[in-house]
């Protein structure tokens, strides 16, 4: 018996990438042991999207579609998942190492008295045991943990590490509706959900940063950066000079004496690329640099170097984003 339960995560009617990562990984593991992969989808108004999971190797898809599951309510989610675990007796429960996944995993671990290996980066069956690798001491070391055989384990995996394995579609996947289980004593009332405003997110948390440099010329032009950041769902960053000039707040400062960031996209507008700044953003996945000076040091780092005036280019980019935004809106 090597059944694996995978908790999926979704947002705005689409599954998060990590759901596919975990499912395909579970599929790979289950194949070595001839086990089943069971995906769990909890939410409200989600029934029509669950089929997609079969494409990543789920044998059974447990769906609880209920208004009470609209937002993450720790007690209801725990009770529902607990009941399912009771019924299916899996040997492994995989959860994403996200805010929800980590919280739920910890709760299950306590109530079920199961071991929990949090924030793992690798996982495999080692005979009938589970073996995981996880970073410790702030990533300086990796520890390998092997579970005691026969014990059900909870494992949370860091999103984006293992990647989505080539899909192994399962045409025989069955859809199993499950009931919401309510906790015996309700202690938490989830009253609503306030989406984060990208402007208020910490710079280290956003995927896109549009950063302002002295090359923008004057304080008013910072509004262009703000606008583009807003359209891209990102945040505004700044160089020290811009902060010293009072154009932007100190908490937006990126670099040696500011924040170190690693967003997926970094747009540097009018930034020359002094080491004190680049040291704080050089590990960004994609760097787009806009600067009038062809010899600007930032171009040595950039994936896309745009040798032009940011003040002239930004309105064009903003227009483009607006147009695309409209067409997306029209489609939906």
């Amino acid at each position: 018996m090597s059944n694996i339960i995978v908790l999926t995560e979704h947002r705005d009617g689409a599954f998060e990438e990590v759901s596919f990562e975990l499912l395909s990984e579970a599929r790979r593991m289950a194949r070595t042991k001839d086990g089943n992969v069971m995906a769990v989808v909890l939410g409200n108004g989600i029934s029509n999207m669950v089929d997609e999971l079969a494409g990543y190797g789920a044998d059974r898809i447990f769906v609880a579609d209920d208004a009470r599951l609209a937002h993450y309510d720790p007690q209801i989610w725990q009770a529902t998942l607990s009941a399912l675990c009771q019924q299916e007796a899996p040997s492994l429960i995989l959860l994403p190492a996200t805010t929800t996944g980590e919280d739920l995993a910890a709760r299950l671990a306590v109530t079920k008295n199961w071991p929990l290996y949090s924030r793992s980066t690798k996982i495999k069956f080692h005979r009938d045991q589970i073996q995981v690798v996880r970073p410790v001491y702030a990533g300086k070391l990796q520890e390998t943990i092997t579970s005691i055989s026969g014990l059900t384990c909870l494992v949370t995996m860091i999103p984006g590490v293992i990647g989505v394995k080539p899909a192994e579609s399962n045409t025989n996947a069955t859809l199993v509706p499950i009931d919401v289980v309510l906790p015996i004593e309700k202690r938490i009332e989830v009253t609503g959900f306030v989406p984060a405003d990208p402007h208020n997110l910490k710079l280290t948390e956003v995927d896109v940063i549009v950063a302002a440099g002295r090359g923008l010329g004057q304080a008013e032009n910072v509004s262009l950066v703000k606008e583009l950041a807003g359209l891209l769902g990102g945040a505004v960053g700044a160089t020290r000079v811009v902060v010293d000039l009072g154009w932007l707040d100190r908490k937006t400062q990126i670099g040696q004496t500011g924040t170190t960031v690693k967003p997926r996209l970094y747009v540097a507008c009018g930034i020359s690329g002094a080491t004190q700044h680049t040291i704080g953003m050089k590990d960004s996945s994609v760097i787009v640099a806009i600067n009038t000076d062809p010899a600007a040091a930032i171009f040595n780092l950039a994936d896309l170097s745009l040798n032009c005036d940011a003040v002239q280019l930004l309105p064009v980019l903003i227009d483009q984003c607006r147009m695309r935004g409209k067409t997306t809106d029209d489609r939906s």
Partner: protein, 686 residues
């Protein structure tokens, strides 16, 4: 003239003389007890080695004595203001009267006959003149306090002592006048002030018997005032008359850029030292505890502090004052109250270790050192800002504060023409002259340009030198100034080992921070290096004629004005002021213009003391302030000789008025522009 002199204790009946001696000994006993109580507190501090400078050699003894004489008797740091000059007057008046009174005592109580003949006349005239000097000084001080009330910040607590002193001075003259009126003297010319008072006396009290009783009354008044003063001295603010000279004599005389060594790593490893960082005031050196009592709160440190000037929560004066208050709270507080409760972390991290406070202090206190001591204490508690943590991690792991791959240390040389390429030392190869590139020069985009300019110059002058390349590591300067003494010493040990492997004795560097640590701080760890700043080296190249200026490019253009910003670690801390000026003024088509605050008075750019690596949100704008001072000279070029200053000033320049055309350059770049190019065979691009 041989008969000149006077009777001591004339007109004072024998019974009165007995009371007089009882009072003398009583007041001296109170004075001594007061000083002993204070001394017991000072000696709660570390006493080994007895002097902070360590072993007392003939050389250090002379140095201590020299500074003692200058700072105590000449007081050059007070000459800049009227108040300071008033202090010099009060001091000299008080000092001469004090010595004079002691001579009277010696003359009377010992077989020595000092006060006779010419010496008596000199004594008499000096006491009169210096007595007037003291009263004038006190008058200026009183005038400042009372007429400028509300406008000036005067330090409370000095009133009683100074008032007593004024009364002693005035009653002294009254006494002299009454004595001269009573006993008469043929040497009136040598007691001019006394003579005036004597004439007054003759006029008011012509009766001889009255004169006798008035003389006794005034004598007693003067005696009682004087002995009250002596007894009061250890308990009031004028205690500094004792503690300041004591501290100046015993104080740390290491160069201001050399921080104290709280322990040696090998002593920690062998277990003979267990406390790695100061936690309480008792962990400081006893001279530092004495310095708290030597502080007069004159505020010269605060006036000099560039961080305070831009609104940082740092006041060197308050730092010392608060420590003095702690001292007054007594032994258990000195031994138990955590240092960081007094020298707060906000204050400690706001310090740029520019040393302006240390250089401004008239009584040799080193507030900067106290702030670093507090950093050491804070660091062990691990409550530190992420930027600081990151920097320390980077130093530990990559050997540079930025966190760059040490293998990329030669990236600056990648595009250099073959003839300019530096020789990189292979393991075991000996080296006469090392170019220490430093972390900024190796990794920072801007610093790399300076390094390229410098090696171009070295090639032009045909200098035979080498670089360590990927072997080079930070000197540890940042670690030490962040309070991480252990990491600093680890880096020192491995660097010295590397120098020894290559037989390195002579180093040039473009970074004053590296210059300071390699040249001065490394000595204590057994390094014997001759470290030169590139300005000094270029200056010798010019003098030797191996580097020649090229005026061809400047013929038609107008003469440009250059102002030099003195980096703290080059100027104030290491006394190198002239070499960069010599180099810059010898450049064709250029003239030098000085900022108002230059040389010793130069203001910090804001990046020192490792402030380049973290930001607590206050104390920003030091670079902008300095930039404004430079711009006020109307210079077209701001030259400097430090990568920290260069980056800070350049940043200030880019943040300033956009129409400004001021450029910021390292002096090596300016020299490179205006010296005869090195002809590279077959290189047509040049």
């Amino acid at each position: 003239m041989d008969s000149a002199g006077r009777e001591i204790l004339g007109n004072i009946p024998a019974a009165h003389q007995v009371y007089f001696f009882i009072i003398t000994w009583l007041s001296l006993a109170v004075f001594s007890a007061g000083i002993l109580v204070r001394a017991r507190l000072w000696f709660q501090g570390r006493t080994s080695p007895f002097l902070p400078t360590g072993q007392i050699t003939a050389h250090t003894f002379v140095e201590h004595l020299r500074v003692f004489i200058i700072q105590t008797f000449v007081q050059p740091r007070l000459h800049t203001s009227t108040t300071g000059l008033a202090h010099v007057a009060i001091f000299w008046g008080f000092f001469v009267l004090f010595v004079g009174t002691n001579l009277v005592f010696l003359d009377h109580a010992t077989p020595l006959s000092l006060l006779s003949g010419f010496f008596y006349l000199l004594f008499s005239l000096s006491l009169d003149l210096f007595g007037i000097l003291m009263i004038v000084g006190l008058w200026i001080a009183a005038h400042r306090r009372f007429s400028d009330r509300g406008k000036v910040d005067y330090v409370p607590g000095y009133g009683p002592g100074l008032t007593l002193l004024a009364f002693i001075g005035v009653t002294g003259f009254l006494l002299e006048g009454s004595r001269m009126s009573l006993l008469g003297s043929q040497w009136f010319d040598f007691s001019p002030v006394g003579a005036v008072f004597a004439t007054g006396f003759d006029y008011i009290i012509p009766d001889e018997a009255e004169k006798v009783s008035w003389h006794r009354r005034i004598w007693w008044l003067h005696v009682l005032l004087t002995f009250s003063f002596i007894a009061y001295l250890p308990f009031g603010r004028l205690l500094h008359a004792v503690t300041a000279p004591m501290h100046i004599l015993a104080a740390n005389r290491k160069p201001s850029g050399v921080l104290s060594t709280p322990y040696h790593l090998e002593d920690i490893e062998s277990g003979s030292v267990t406390r790695a960082a100061p936690r309480v005031a008792a962990d400081l050196h006893w001279t530092q505890l004495l310095s708290f009592d030597a502080c007069t709160e004159c505020g010269r440190c605060d006036d000099a502090c560039p961080s305070l000037a831009v609104g940082s929560p740092l006041s060197p004066k308050n730092t010392v004052s608060e420590l003095r208050q702690l001292l007054h709270q007594g032994k258990s507080f000195i031994q138990n109250r955590p240092l960081e409760e007094i020298v707060t972390s906000e204050a400690a991290w706001s310090c740029t270790t520019c040393g302006a406070c240390t250089h401004a202090c008239p009584v040799s206190i080193r507030p900067m050192d106290l702030l670093v001591e507090s950093r050491r204490a804070i660091l062990t508690s691990n409550r530190i800002e992420p930027g600081i943590k990151k920097t320390l991690n980077n130093l530990q792991e990559t050997g540079n504060p930025f966190g760059f791959d040490p293998q990329s240390r030669l990236a600056w040389a990648a595009d250099l023409p073959v003839d300019i390429q530096p020789t990189v030392l292979d393991p075991g190869i000996q080296c006469e002259l090392l170019l220490w590139v430093g972390c900024w020069g190796s990794f920072d985009e801007r610093g790399q340009k300076v390094t390229r300019a410098l090696v171009t110059l070295l090639a032009r002058a045909g200098v035979d030198y080498a670089v360590l390349g990927p072997e080079e590591r930070c000197t540890g300067d940042s670690a030490r100034r962040l309070g991480e003494e252990g990491l600093f010493q680890q880096m020192v040990i491995s660097n010295i080992e590397r120098f020894n492997q290559h037989g390195i004795r002579k180093i040039i560097t473009a970074c004053p921070h590296c210059l300071n640590s390699l040249g001065t701080e490394y000595r204590e760890f057994g390094a014997d290096l001759e470290v030169m700043h590139h300005s000094e080296f270029i200056s010798t190249l010019f003098n030797e004629g191996s580097l020649q200026t090229d005026s061809s490019k400047t013929a038609e253009t107008h003469e440009r004005k250059i102002t030099f910003h003195d980096p703290c670690y080059l100027g104030r801390h290491n006394g190198i002021f002239d070499a960069p000026r010599q180099v810059l003024s010898s450049l064709p088509g250029s003239s030098m213009v000085e900022m108002e605050a230059s040389r010793e008075k130069s203001r910090c750019c804001g990046a020192g003391g490792s402030n380049a690596w973290f930001d607590l949100g206050h104390g920003r704008g030091m670079n902008a302030t300095r930039y404004q001072q430079a711009a006020a000279t109307r210079a077209e070029v701001i030259a400097t000789g430090c990568p920290f200053c260069l980056s800070m000033m350049e940043e200030a320049a880019s943040g300033a008025d956009e129409t400004s055309t001021i450029t910021v350059k390292d002096l090596a770049e300016l020299v490179e522009e205006r010296t005869h190019p090195f002809v590279v065979p077959g290189d047509n691009n040049r």
